[in-house]
Amino acid sequence: MPKIIKDGQVIDDTWVIIDKDFEGVLPMAKVLLPMQYYLDKRDSLNLMCAGLWIDSEEEVEAIGLDANMFPLIAVNFPSFMDGRGFSIGRLLKERYGFTGQLRAIGNAIQDQLFYLKRCGFTSFDLKDGTDLEAACQSLNDFDVSYQSAYDQPEAIFRRN
């Protein structure tokens, strides 16, 4: 079973990512639906076991407040250099008030965990081949941060 990092622990993961061009009958499993798939079919879908995944070039505004219909939303990092997912994460959490689990999928790397955490991500399906146990420590690379972000909305000078 695939492994991910969630809340600082390495755990088994059971979510199945559905491809963007998927057609046919969805598997009997917990599925992560592509954003456009959901938008196209939202009136006819049974969302009982569904989460959502958003690609880095997609406009998160299209989901907007629907975000909270899902227990889990994943954001894809096609390459770890593609930093759009950091903004998508913050928008989901901060603008649309998404309270569920926010996950990074694709090719995010260990050294981005601290930043991802600050943008509201709590679970991480890192690039294949990552030593996840060792990677966990990067969640805590820094104890202090200057700016406001999801995990710490007050900028440093506003905290007491």
Partner: protein, 567 residues
């Protein structure tokens, strides 16, 4: 100067630990080359032609003597005994060992320095006027704002993987000495009609392959709103900047494609949200940071007396007089002056300085300038708070240190990138061109007669030497493996920032001194009433220069149009 508190220190130390871990993983084969690359870049570490290059941040160009002595120690211990001042006020070491970089960073952290975000696709060191805080024409000292931006941008979790690098400059004066119009964001401190201080915001300026002058997207931003507004700009750019073609990835391309008006609207609507987050500056924070930049206890000095004394000394000593003329900048306090130490003597790569010189500069700063030193974007150093009565003594010592060449702002005070001697992206060498020109124009009287004149050299179209904004700009171009140089005229990085125009086909390296000589002759013959080069150029246009240079030339060869348009 800003002094770290516990938090600042901890953040920098944890960064060193993080990078040490990354370097260990890389050396152990656990971190792939392509993954280590952006991580090392965000710590200032490039790999160039001969060895790694380490770029160290000098936030807004300000250093104390402890830091300068540390740089001397690093140059001595880990490098070949010298370093280089860059056009963005930073310091580069050309010969460190990769394995030793974590140790160098740890040494820097001891003196509150680092290499954070000095390269890579992130928010870079914020730069400003080298005379900040002492300039007579200043509305307000820009350095506290630079420091607030430094803290906001340091490890900003959302903006560490931008489409491309991102540079911010702040100016506190109307006459621009910080090149804010050629930065991704240019911030100018302004006063509105209610007499409140705030910021004019420009975006989308930049040099490189596609030089663009920035556009104003907000005429007045209240001080407290600075950080939420910057968050909004960066978010719009992070989400919409081009990520498929690195030559189209800078914010300037997005601003141009959308138009500045549309870009401004997008930022304003994003700002509606970001300003609701408790990220904005508080009055207390602004005051806290400003508290580090309060005016020192200057002595009360009679300026007339001081000037009298200087005049007597200068009359006696022509060399000192010349130095006073060129290397001294007016100070807002009577009896004081700002001194530029020239790092442009003939025969030394522009901006290079040795460990011994760094030590000497630190001694001078301790003795004569309140223990602080500034780096300048024209690759020199400044001692900003010197008593006029100390100038003569300082000059004598600077002379024996090798940095009293009286050429600031003149032809031989060239801006020059490392070029083909060091940089793997270069089309051509730039340092030998600078040297050949300095040797050719070694008659200082001639150089003084030319007056203020900027000559900027880049080894390729990345424009690290700012050739587009030199009065005379020289660009290395590559023709089938041979080094050639294109010339541009009429650029200018002052308030009315202007990009130069290409003169015509490029030249071989050996031709360059003669080409420049012809250009200067056209200027000297045509100027009226003491016009500067820029003024004369604007009046007579490029044609007379073209005519002279190419009719006198035998060896020039046609340029490939692809290179000369430099799209």
């Amino acid at each position: 100067m800003y002094i770290y508190n516990e938090n600042d220190q901890k953040i920098i130390e944890q960064r060193v630990a993080q990078f040490r871990g990354q370097t260990d993983r890389y050396l152990a084969g656990q971190l792939a080359e392509e993954e280590f690359l952006p991580l090392r870049l965000q710590n200032g570490l490039y790999v160039q032609r001969l060895a790694p290059m380490l770029r160290i941040a000098v936030p807004y160009g300000l250093l104390n003597t402890k830091q300068v002595r540390k740089l001397a120690h690093i140059a001595h211990t880990y490098d070949k005994g010298y370093c280089h001042i860059t056009t963005r006020q930073n310091i580069q070491f050309n010969w460190p060992q990769l394995e030793e970089v974590p140790d160098i960073l740890a040494e820097l952290a001891e003196v509150q320095m680092h290499a954070v975000q000095t390269s890579g696709n992130c928010i870079r060191n914020t730069t400003t006027d080298q005379f900040a805080g002492v300039a007579q024409d200043e509305l307000e000292d820009p350095r506290p704002w630079c420091e607030m931006i430094r803290q906001w941008s340091t490890f900003h979790p959302e903006f560490a993987f931008l489409p491309r690098k991102f540079k911010i400059a702040v100016s506190g004066t109307e006459g621009d000495r910080a090149a804010i119009q050629v930065h991704d964001i240019g911030i100018q401190i302004v006063k509105n009609d209610k007499n409140e201080i705030g910021f004019k915001i420009l975006v989308g300026g930049g040099l490189g392959r596609t030089p663009v002058i920035g556009s104003v997207i907000r005429e007045f931003l209240p001080q407290e709103d600075l950080l939420s507004y910057l968050d909004a700009i960066l978010r719009v750019y992070n989400r919409h900047g081009n990520r498929t073609n690195k030559y189209k990835a800078r914010i300037k391309i997005l601003v141009r494609a959308w138009t500045p008006e549309v870009f401004a609207e997008e930022v304003e609507s994003e700002w509606e949200y970001t300003k609701k987050i408790p990220c904005d500056l508080t009055r207390e924070e602004i005051d806290r940071v400003k508290g580090f930049f309060t005016q020192p206890d200057y002595e009360a000095i009679d300026d007339n007396d001081a000037e009298q004394q200087l005049k007597i000394l200068a009359d006696d000593n022509i060399a000192f007089g010349k130095w006073l003329q060129r290397n001294i900048h007016a100070h807002k306090i009577p009896g004081y002056a700002a001194v530029t130490l020239s790092l442009k003597p003939t025969g030394v790569a522009p901006g290079d300085i040795t460990d011994v010189q760094l030590e000497a500069v630190a001694d001078l700063a301790d003795k004569y300038s309140l223990g602080e030193i500034r780096t300048t974007h024209s690759q020199n150093l400044v001692l900003a708070d010197v008593k006029k009565s100390d100038l003569f003594e300082l000059w004598q010592k600077a002379k024996s240190g090798g940095f009293a060449t009286p050429n600031i702002g003149t032809l031989t005070d060239m801006i020059c990138c490392p070029g083909g001697d060091f940089c793997s992206l270069a089309n051509a060498k730039s340092i030998p061109v600078a040297e050949a020109l300095q040797r050719k124009f070694d008659d200082m009287d001639y150089v003084y007669d030319l007056g203020d004149l900027s000559l900027n050299i880049s080894g390729c179209m990345n424009a690290c030497g700012h050739h587009h904004v030199g009065n005379i700009g020289i660009l290395g171009v590559d023709k089938k493996g041979d080094e050639f140089y294109q010339v541009q005229l009429g650029g200018n990085s002052d308030t009315d920032t202007t990009l130069g125009n290409v003169l015509g086909p490029s030249f071989g390296r050996d031709d360059m001194p003669e080409v420049v000589e012809n250009i200067l002759n056209v200027y000297v013959e045509n100027r009226v009433n003491g016009e500067s080069f820029t003024e004369a150029y604007r009046r007579i246009g490029i044609a007379p220069f073209k005519e002279r240079v190419y009719s006198n030339k035998t060896g020039s060869k046609p340029t490939d149009p692809k290179e000369s348009t430099d799209a």
